[in-house]
Symmetry: C2
Subunit: 200 residues, 2 copies
Amino acid sequence: MGNRIIVTIGREHGSGGRSIGRILAKALNVPFYDRELISLTAKESGLAEEFIGKVEQQRHIGSYLYDMFVTANTLPIHDQVYLAQSRVIEQVARESCVIVGRCADYILRDCPDCLNVFIYAPLEERVRRVTGEYRDPVEGDPAAWIRKMDKRRASYYNYMTQRDWGKASNYDLCVNSRLGMEETADVILAACRHFRGGSE
Amino acid sequence: MGNRIIVTIGREHGSGGRSIGRILAKALNVPFYDRELISLTAKESGLAEEFIGKVEQQRHIGSYLYDMFVTANTLPIHDQVYLAQSRVIEQVARESCVIVGRCADYILRDCPDCLNVFIYAPLEERVRRVTGEYRDPVEGDPAAWIRKMDKRRASYYNYMTQRDWGKASNYDLCVNSRLGMEETADVILAACRHFRGGSE
């Protein structure tokens, strides 16, 4: 390796993608960006951190409302947040790092040094994780909650990128984290070792 | 590791899945099964090798013809081949091995020692491989040929298994072979090292 490497991680809700990203960043000795991007985006945009966090959690509004906003000559808030976050992601990706979520694979699509990874897991394992170690405000059936969270992510990603969230061909590597957290990180690490980016 | 491990490899046409499987089997020091399964199936079924090879290459017939055959109280030839091949796959999977294609992930779905892998690659790399090292009888546009071969595989797999061919959640690992043949095998090897099967 030796060159710059940016690992972007997309993940199903409850698959442990964040933990795996953190383990990977530690092993690669590079910065890790997940929720850290919210405070950086707040600084970049002047919007409040709490507000950005909420916008990220919402499904994207429909095209009718979008058109209304655009007609009023101002970008809808989702797009403002997305654009500010894109600038932040482009800045942090000047150096090697691990970035979780936030369409980073798409935002950095012209960067030759990106290894794009998607993490998924069987639903029963995700239910176990969400009802255990996560602090999700689950109401009712955890499986339904997980599906709802995935739908939100897919909706946001597909709208912003015009790609299909979780479709294997968008990624260099898709790993089922039933292998284990450390183990999945190690498989990604093997791919990192062999990854030949474009920069010298 | 130390226990039995069966690696099944599904692959897009032209992704190099067969070469990767061969490298992996050598590294694991276990038998490799791809076209070898055709001669074993011929022995099992009494059908000619050449005939089995052709049946594998055809798209599955529609349900109307299927019903006609079943009504006549004899299984259609696709199903005869599939059943004979299933018995062969179950036999060879008594010991550790690498199996390419032939719905092995589904046939061995109750086997706890299977690591199921899917290999894919960008279309331009697949065109390069199919028009170079492969001996495909390509007529016309190689990209169209590749899509046709993939459609056949998907059609056969989806019909026989009621699953979606190439859908990440069916597999433990999906690797984009643009990493390289040896390199992709090494990533799968990392997953094998961490794989905890069910047998002692």
